[in-house]
């Protein structure tokens, strides 16, 4: 039988420069000082029986099963809580120990249901294993005494059950919630025999539990059990792969029965997540087999026509003929493509290759345009490489963290857990955010400073922090002298020292008391290791790129780049944002961030691809929309993105999509963009293909096919076949060959291959001859560009201003349970936590408008209006409202504007002047049009499916 057990060392690994040697049953083993006897025993190949210990948690010493004998010591100490001493002689097995262990097991089993054969944990139960290991044969106490066998099962959580009758109160779940996840939702209630695990006063669903599943994974019995396992039984094999949600890029073991996933278990050896996960990655994978999946290619001439299901061949031929027709009529530059951060590196690489080589232009862009393109520009300019500087493990060495414009507990929950652990250990925390995000104050974490700035004032705050560092002489002079361009620094120093950049002078813009900024600057500058983590709250502004450069400036100023514990750390939104950017998805750059104007670069790619690469940059996504409305852009191939929902100023986007003569959408669902499409190529989920993702720490990890593509082709195969239909041959038999081509053409990837990834698990680029096993942190000796460049970062207020008509500022974001446009998570039980987008409003703003909690309100901007339900919360500051954008009918982006970052055109999602009013009608005009259009398109899709023989009109 397949075993899904992995080696459990019982207690965590210890970091120490010193080692000690102990003898386990006579076998010598050398371990770091501080290592437990239990762990040393496992390293010596000896499994000491255990129940309350597991190597993801600190030792607890409650189950008394792991007792050992140690020469020269009295009694039988617990091996999990006893650290090794040099020369220690340990005996793990004797008659005395065996009797003690059997006695312990007898007590456990006397109060445990004997339903092993029908128990969902059968075959994967540590209690069962230990009963076997200690040789339990009978229970002298009988089973009739007082017990816990009639307690009610808690099935409130959609993904797992809590059966207290099977609980041995080992506290692993409580400790996992505390140590691994950092939520502290669980506790042991009562004492002695009354002890029981509790998730608050009611049940798991209504508690503080965030459903990360760490407790379920830690449970040694079936007390906490995945409902998927209850339904399906234990897996028969497992495949290691990478999560397709956020930019943390967690490694998972997809546990399978045949080609059906029955459980996703975070991979203990995954270097990004170290065995942890969130509710999305662990549980929200049911979308992959949701009935809404598109399984057949479809075409139609006009968007008012019914869809017609066709063969792949017909779809490719039709799409190719349309591209050719449009190029013949409107020119080569009238076509383009959009790659996806949800697709693999290989797929992204192929799509940009298709556009450059097959379409013959550079009109290719990626959804990173609307999230982290300013990171690419800002970090390339200042440091020389368009990527974050650290690995996630770096946070373990950080003494002071700045979290700027990011909400890690919702957006990047697994990394947030790592960060919270470090914060609980004592690292300082400065949160810079308009909202009181959870990190500001939560169990055992409290920010030293929450700089609750006004939306749009990041650059002012960061300049003010740097001003304090410079004017108070807190800068890292030696570091700057050795590592940075001194001409640039001198110019920047004069600029930043000016009084107008002081916290006091900028207070009217920032809304943050100057003394708080001064305190925060001192805390950060004086910390031995300071790290800055930031997100879309920085980039999605008219000064997004400037904001990124203020971060690089502050990091260089304080000497905080080039070693563990420091750095500039962009928290990427989607799973493969970094990879999509690396793979040449931007219209001005070929893979490896090399500008298309460079003749040598064009020659390199042109020779490999057998074409002439155009020397001019192509259109970015917002430019594509403008050109479409203008009539010069007529055909678009969109892979794995839902631009109709995710991009700002929805009505402008809709107008652009309606202007296209051929819109090809490749997706796993008929998303909002597909409603404007003429061709549908069914996409494949991450479970249906091989490839790689690159996470926020530049870590390239394998994505492995565990089930066949539902529509017959993996996404990379679709692009290959489409290219062939266009007359451009792509000769790949497997994605590994695409990676080989990437490695041939891209210096930072030259050492990457599937063989290496299979061997090492993952690697962080640059991975080449200089760093054959990758680069955990960058710019160690010098910056990629040579000397670090301080850039002048003048604060300039956004053109979006509040007025009497639009007195509030809207800022948008995401929530834990939903992901991006919600296409995946809305098709899972995660809906139970967030089934509609809502507007968060400060109590005073609500009171002034006569709005009460739960009211329907309209939100109107200069661009449009929509209605949502209202949440009144003091998380918001006065004058600022917030909404998520996970549900298409909410129309959050109907309200957002066309304003964008000066350097990259990244939209300014984070600042929109709005008015909010209580309404009686539930739907705005736009929403009513949306409803009608959605109804029409649903009907056209149904007609096509019902009548596959219907000819194309």
């Amino acid at each position: 039988m397949y075993s899904n057990k992995v080696v459990d060392f019982g207690t965590p690994t210890k970091r120490s420069d010193n080692t000690v040697t102990v003898h386990i049953d006579g076998k010598p083993v050398c371990v770091p000082e501080g290592t437990s006897v239990m762990r040393a025993a496992v390293e010596a190949g000896v499994q000491v029986p255990k129940l309350c210990a597991t190597d993801s948690l600190e030792s607890f010493g409650s189950c008394r099963l792991c007792l050992v004998e140690i020469d020269g010591r009295r009694g039988t100490p617990a091996s999990c809580t006893t650290p090794c001493d040099d020369g220690m002689q340990v005996t793990t097995q004797s008659n005395k120990l065996a009797n003690l262990r059997r006695g312990v097991m007898e007590l456990y089993i006397s109060d445990h249901p004997l339903d092993c054969l029908t128990c969902p944990a059968n075959g994967n139960c540590e209690l069962q294993d230990m009963a076997g290991a200690v040789g339990l044969r009978d229970v002298r106490y009988g089973y009739e005494g007082e017990n816990h066998l009639v307690q009610e099962k808690d099935e409130s959580n959609p993904y797992f059950t809590f059966d207290p009758t099977k609980c041995i109160v080992c506290s692993r779940c409580v400790r996992a919630c505390e140590e691994t996840q950092g939520t502290f939702a669980l506790t042991v209630e009562g004492r002695g025999f009354e002890s029981k695990i509790a998730a608050g006063p009611t049940n798991f669903f209504d508690s503080e539990c965030v459903s990360c599943g760490a407790c379920v994974q830690a449970c040694p019995t079936s007390t906490l059990m995945e409902k998927s396992i209850v339904d399906a039984g234990q897996p028969d094999h497992a495949v290691t792969t990478t999560c397709a949600y956020c930019g943390v890029g967690c490694s998972f073991r997809a546990e399978m029965q045949g080609s059906e996933v029955v459980r996703m278990v975070p991979h203990k050896d995954g270097k990004a997540n170290h065995g942890h996960s969130c509710v999305k990655g662990r549980f929200a994978w049911g979308y992959a087999t949701h009935p809404d999946r598109v399984k057949k290619p479809m075409i139609r001439k006009k968007i008012t026509d019914p869809w017609r299901e066709v063969t792949w061949e017909e779809a490719f031929e039709y799409a190719a003929s349309e591209i050719k027709r449009i190029q013949a009529k409107y020119g080569q530059a009238s076509t383009g493509g959009i790659t996806s951060s949800r697709c693999t590196n290989e797929e992204t690489f192929l799509l940009q290759k298709l556009v450059r080589a097959g379409f013959g232009n550079n009109n290719v862009d990626t959804c990173a345009r609307v999230c982290h393109s300013p990171t690419g520009y800002g970090l390339k300019t200042t440091l020389g490489e368009s990527a974050g500087t650290q690995d996630f493990d770096s946070v373990d060495f950080t003494d002071c963290v700045i979290v700027l414009g990011a909400n890690p507990t919702d957006g990047h929950p697994v990394f947030a857990s790592r960060m919270k652990k470090r914060l609980r250990e004592g690292a300082g925390l400065i949160v810079i955010d308009p909202r009181k995000i959870d990190l500001v104050r939560m169990p055992h974490v409290e920010a030293d400073f929450h700089l609750q700035l006004r939306p749009g004032a990041n650059v002012a705050v960061m300049n003010a922090l740097a001003h304090v560092v410079v004017t108070e002489g807190l800068e890292s002079k030696d570091y700057i002298a050795q590592r940075c361009d001194l001409d640039d620094y001198t110019k920047w120093r004069a600029f930043i020292s000016e009084e107008r950049n002081s916290p006091e002078a900028l207070e009217e813009h920032t809304g943050v008391p100057a003394d708080q900024i001064r305190g925060a600057a001192r805390l950060f500058a004086k910390a031995p290791n300071g790290a800055i983590y930031y997100g879309l709250g920085v980039t999605e502004h008219s000064q997004g790129s400037t904001g990124v450069m203020t971060i690089a400036n502050l990091a260089m100023l304080t000497g905080n780049i080039g070693r563990p514990g420091v750095g500039v750390n962009p928290l990427r939104g989607q799973n493969n944002v970094q990879g999509a950017c690396d793979m040449g998805s931007f219209p001005h750059e070929l893979p490896g961030y090399r500008h298309v104007s460079d003749p040598a670069v064009r020659e390199l790619f042109g020779k490999e691809w057998g074409v002439k690469i155009q020397p001019e940059p192509g259109l970015r996504i917002p430019n594509m929309f403008d050109a479409a409305v203008d009539g010069s852009f007529k055909a678009l191939y969109v892979q794995g993105e839902d631009i109709a929902q995710s991009d700002p100023d929805t009505q402008h986007v809709q107008k652009a999509l309606e202007s296209l003569e051929c819109l090809i959408v490749q997706d796993i669902f008929l998303n909002e963009t597909a409603k404007y499409a003429h061709v549908i190529f069914p996409g494949s989920s991450f479970l249906e293909k091989d490839g790689t993702f690159t996470n926020a720490e530049r870590r390239i990890s394998m994505v492995r096919k565990v089930m066949p593509p539902l529509a017959g082709l993996a996404d990379w195969e679709v692009t290959v076949r489409f290219a062939e239909a266009l007359g451009y041959r792509m000769d790949y038999k497997h994605p590994s060959e695409i990676m080989d081509e990437i490695a041939r053409l891209t210096p930072t990837f030259s050492g990457v291959s599937y063989d290496k990834l299979n061997k090492l698990g993952s690697v962080q680029w640059p991975c080449n001859d200089a760093a054959p096993e990758g680069t955990p942190y960058m710019h160690e000796q010098e910056f990629t560009r040579g000397k670090g460049k301080f850039v002048l970062t003048e604060f300039q207020a956004t053109p979006e201003r509040t007025t009497r008509k639009f007195p509030l500022i809207l800022t948008t974001g995401r929530t834990l349970s939903q992901y991006n446009v919600g296409a995946q998570t809305r098709r899972t039980q995660n809906q139970l936590w967030h089934d509609e987008d809502m507007i968060e409003l400060h109590p005073h703003d609500a009171e002034n408008r006569g709005i009460e909690h739960g009211d329907m309100v309209s939100m109107q901007s200069r661009k449009g209006d929509t209605t949502m339900r209202c949440v009144i919360t003091e998380r918001m500051q006065l004058g600022v409202v917030y909404s998520t954008f996970h549900h298409p009918e909410s129309g959050a982006n109907v309200v957002t504007t066309e304003n964008s970052d000066w350097a990259t055109n990244c939209p300014e999602y984070k600042v929109t002047a709005v008015q909010v009013r209580k309404v009686t009608s539930n739907r705005s005009d736009w929403q009513q049009r949306f409803d009608a259009f959605a109804q029409q398109q649903d009907s056209l899709a149904r007609q096509g499916a019902e009548d596959p023989e219907q000819p194309a009109k």
Binding site: P587, G618, S632, A903
Partner: protein, 77 residues
């Protein structure tokens, strides 16, 4: 392409580089950014607006960039 929108975008770029006390560098920075990141039809539209003599409210650095770096901003034939 909407010339007014492109002028706004060009002015944003100029506003960033305008902080540089070295005016020559500021003009070159503005021109270089437009050249490196703007697709030819965008540059053509901006240049056409510049050439039509109308008051488009261009930042003076944009005017200088289009004047002094014209050759680099003309799309490659």
């Amino acid at each position: 392409m909407d010339a007014n929108k492109l002028v706004t975008m060009a002015n944003q770029i100029a506003s960033f580089f305008a902080t540089d006390p070295d005016r020559t560098a500021a003009v070159a920075g503005t021109a270089n950014h437009i050249q490196k990141f703007w697709e030819p039809r965008m540059r053509k539209t901006l240049l056409a607006a510049f050439d039509d003599g109308g008051d488009h409210g261009m930042h003076e650095l944009v005017v200088a960039a289009l004047t002094e770096h014209r050759a680099g901003l003309e799309p490659v034939a």
